[in-house]
Symmetry: C2
């Protein structure tokens, strides 16, 4: 099994190292990831600049290819120019911080797996629900288990799995829940500040409300200590509304 690994925290992040190491036990891993952090890039691709690719070493050994692009760029570039032959699986992560609810629209991590799915390759994104003192071991282990499971189970064309692992001790980690994407999103706002030169600037900041998450959703599952797996797809058509729209007089 040939596995392509990417992320959005950058090739030198701890999460991708834990992930690539765990997946090496399941298949032949190629890492192609951004050279620095590219968080909240959404499903961006780089059209107006050339992309650069370098070799990255970790622990004194060749680890993977570092690119100047986004996670989606990395997956395109890996499949079309770097790897010999298509991978059998694309895995993106392990992200520092959950990717759940409507916020997955902003997620570079999910976007890496999306690009894999668009190119017809089984793909999943995996994130750990914490920003502090992360222990990636349980999530990395689960990624390897899921990669194994994908050897014998098929995903529909264009559908990927979005996995979130709660940051709890192994003893407290509950089993897998197959979930829907919550409709919750960050409640965000801007802090208006003045720089040392007297100029105004704005920082975005926000809070995630988990209190009102829908039963059966990713947000609820993670909150209750379950590993959440949401199958996601990219036909965004609101089919239910499409027929009502036909009655509009425009």
């Amino acid at each position: 099994m040939k596995i392509l690994v990417t992320n959005d925290d950058g090739i030198y992040a701890d999460g991708i190292y834990a992930l690539a190491t765990a997946l090496a036990k399941v298949g032949e891993v190629t890492v192609v990831a951004p050279d620095t952090q590219r968080s909240a890039v959404g499903h961006a691709i780089t059209l107006t600049d050339p992309l650069r690719v370098g070799k990255a070493r970790r622990n004194k050994k060749f680890f993977g290819y570092a690119t100047s692009g986004t996670p989606a760029d990395c997956v395109k570039l890996a499949i079309k120019s770097i790897m010999k032959g298509k991978p059998d699986l694309v895995v993106s992560g392990i992200n520092l911080g959950a990717n759940s609810g409507m916020n997955i629209l902003y997620s570079g991590t999910v976007s890496g797996a999306t690009e894999g799915a668009l190119l017809g390759i089984p793909s999943f994104a995996i994130s750990l629900d914490t920003f502090v003192k992360p222990d990636f071991s349980a999530a990395a282990e689960f990624a390897a288990r899921l990669a194994q499971a994908l050897k014998k189970n098929r995903l529909p064309k264009g559908t990927l799995l979005n996995v979130n692992v709660p940051a709890v001790t192994r003893a407290r980690l509950k089993g897998v829940k197959f979930t829907s994407q919550s409709h919750e999103l960050f409640k965000d706002w801007f802090q208006k500040r003045t720089d040392p030169h007297g100029q105004t600037y704005y920082w975005m900041t926000g809070k995630f409300r988990t209190s009102s998450a829908e039963p059966g959703s990713d947000v609820e599952a993670i909150d209750k200590g379950h590993i959440s797996i949401t199958p996601i797809q990219f036909d965004l058509t609101d089919y239910k509304f499409l027929s009502e729209l036909e009655t509009w007089d425009i």
Copy 2:
């Protein structure tokens, strides 16, 4: 009617000028847009840098607010920090080039309207299907008509309209089709080149195949000379597959 206008081609693009001018006949327009081109940024937001806002003039008059952010940043910033009170409508465009099929995932134009919809405001994105010698007048006129129609018709919460206008003469422009999002995507690849310093770089390039577009889809409608309107929403859950997934043994 208070209308927020944004785009991804930048505040000095011709498309946003035509759009804002046409919409000024329907309501009170506020323009908040990127200070330069931000194409293919997907639904990116800026977390790691502060955002700057300046005033932009066009034709010797104040035209709008130019920001250092993405289209999604612009809409957030407009609603939360720049405008007095929420807009009644968010319109993003007029984009140079269609936004249809799976490629809407990469679209900064659609992303501006997405942010509006996520914030609970009726929103639409509008694009003109050409990259050369654009005449935005028919598209701008249609945007004003659609804005009027949105005064009396309601969109479901979280659903926006993605509008594409073919670049044909008025005489050849056919009526509106309500469409689904095609599953077609760019067939892209990379050109590998060497820079003047002997270093390798990659440019992405691609082609859109319209030949095999699904009947009733956006790509087909535009190709046949119709104005295409696709209602899109952002619950990405693959509900059909979710129940099958329950049978997986992971």
